[in-house]
């Protein structure tokens, strides 16, 4: 059995990564359009959720900044 070269391993890794990237883009395509009916209420809820997450990210960022400082 011929020994496996570094090039072959690298090639295998690159093709695996390529496959993974393709999988991600497949998922993004499959779920590109949200299936839920976007009523005013749903839109408002999702908007508030976004604001809430931004607030939390800012808090985490501030904490990180105070730790580093």
């Amino acid at each position: 059995m011929a020994p496996i070269g570094t090039g072959q391993i690298l090639g295998h890794l690159i093709s695996s990564l390529h496959g993974f990237r393709k999988k991600i883009s497949d998922i993004n395509q499959r779920y590109a359009i949200p299936k839920i009916r976007m009523s005013k209420w749903v839109r408002l809820t999702l908007f508030v959720l976004r604001l809430y997450l931004i607030f939390l990210v800012l808090l985490l960022g501030y904490k990180f900044w105070t730790l580093v400082r």
Binding site: P34, K35, I36, L53, L59, K63
Partner: protein, 422 residues
């Protein structure tokens, strides 16, 4: 004669009902008892040592909270036949899908580390080195999933869940004054006044009652078990029974430490077990066994919740009914999560306390989104049909979700900035 035939008829009826329940029981019971994981047991132990029986009434209030949230996952799973991760992608698109999925993967992995910490601390009381604990636990957890049947996994998990009840005999062994338990514990009040410390403990207890992984786990388990719309009633009964048991375990855990360690500076369940081992060896041993079991139960559910989510999102085969060659990626995710979490615990000088605190903060970023999506999905007639939330379910569910979001956010903030509460 007639009385005997009536009795026999009733006996046969109850036997039949129990048989059906035992067939359909599982996801609700397991998720609820796994809710009392290493972090949960630590919270209850410290609560008892700090406030005695004073907060038992508050723990009772958490029963409907846990039931209402988890019951929704039963309906959603049984009707859509999809896990929560896939349901979010499908309904809300890729932004919310990736956010929930990646956040879940991270928070689950970090929580898994805390479960390993709990298990190693518990078994170190029996002089078992952490490395041995992690290796043995990982092997047992791998064997549990590799037999290729969801049913077998579930029944083994129920045995471990039953072990979570050791806190009940432990409480009886220490002979508490039951009249004190009732008069102090079941009358709503704030022991020592509404202080910042008390507020922190209330938030911590709510934080342990509903965790993001529970929503994802139960919905995926309902799907993997193959529950259908007609089984929803049984799933609800299972969830209610599980919620009752989880609250019961929490209460008895508080009774144990509230009786013998009230006023002591306890910081963990392992520390409580260590102290009790010198004064009441049987009780200390039961507490240590309970802590180990809590960590184990949490670990098997959390690692599965992640694997199911990976399978759902990436479209890989993802069922405990499949052999390893039929669902290699599903099992690979499970093993990788286990091994990496175990290795982190064994790294000398790893920031384990920081990880434990970080888990609480990251969980806060996912929990509101998961709960809100749950409510939105349960209100969608296209998805749920006649099983969508009723007006009353919406009022109760929304109030609980808003309450959890507010308190868990405060909990996350006070974890990040402890000086706020001073």
């Amino acid at each position: 004669m007639e009385i005997w035939s009536l009795f026999f008829y009733e006996f046969q009826r109850v036997k039949k009902v129990l048989k059906i329940y035992l067939l359909l029981a599982g996801p609700g019971l397991i998720v609820m008892l796994a809710d009392n994981d290493a972090g949960g047991i630590t919270t209850y132990t410290v609560t008892g040592a700090k406030f005695g029986y004073g907060l038992i009434w508050f723990i009772l209030l958490l029963l409907p909270v846990a039931y209402v949230v988890q019951e929704m996952t039963v309906r959603l799973g049984a009707v859509t036949k999809r896990g929560h991760a896939e349901a979010i992608f499908d309904a809300f698109g890729t932004f919310w899908g990736w956010f929930s999925f990646l956040d879940l993967a991270l928070v689950n992995w970090l929580t898994l580390i805390t479960e390993f910490i709990g298990m190693t601390m518990a078994l170190s009381l029996f002089h078992i080195p952490p490395a041995i604990t992690i290796i043995i636990v990982s092997i047992v957890m791998m064997i549990m999933v590799l037999q290729g049947r969801y049913w077998t996994w579930e029944k083994i998990a129920i045995v471990f869940a039953a072990l979570n009840l050791v806190y009940i005999p432990a409480a009886f062994l220490i002979h508490p004054s039951w009249s004190d338990v009732v008069s102090t514990g079941f009358v709503p009040h704030f022991p020592g006044g509404f202080t910042s410390t008390l507020f922190f403990f209330l938030m911590a207890n709510i934080g342990t009652t509903i965790a993001p992984w529970m929503i994802f786990f139960q919905q995926s388990a309902v799907v993997d078990k193959g529950m259908k719309e007609k089984d929803i009633g049984w799933g609800q009964a299972d969830t209610f029974f599980g919620s009752t048991l989880t609250v019961l375990v929490a209460i008895f855990c508080i009774i144990v430490t509230g009786t013998v360690l009230f006023g002591s500076q306890i910081e963990s369940a392992a520390q409580a077990a260590q102290i009790l081992m010198t004064t009441s060896p049987y009780v200390g041993t039961l507490i240590a066994i309970g802590l180990f079991d809590a960590g184990f139960l949490g670990a098997i559910c959390i690692s599965l919740a992640s694997s199911w989510a990976f399978g759902e999102v990436f479209g890989w085969a993802h069922s405990l009914n499949l052999k390893i060659r039929e669902a290699p990626w599903f099992y690979a995710c499970y093993f990788i999560a286990l091994v990496t979490a175990g290795v982190v615990v064994l790294i000398p000088g790893a920031p384990l306390v920081l990880i434990t605190l970080f888990v609480q903060v990251i969980a806060v970023t996912l929990l509101p989104a998961a709960l809100v999506f749950l409510l939105l999905l349960l209100n969608n007639e296209d998805i749920m049909g006649s099983y969508k939330n009723t007006a009353l379910q919406n009022i109760v569910g929304s109030a609980i979700v808003v309450g959890i979001i507010i308190l868990s956010t405060f909990y996350g903030i006070t974890t990040l900035f402890p000086d706020i509460l001073v």
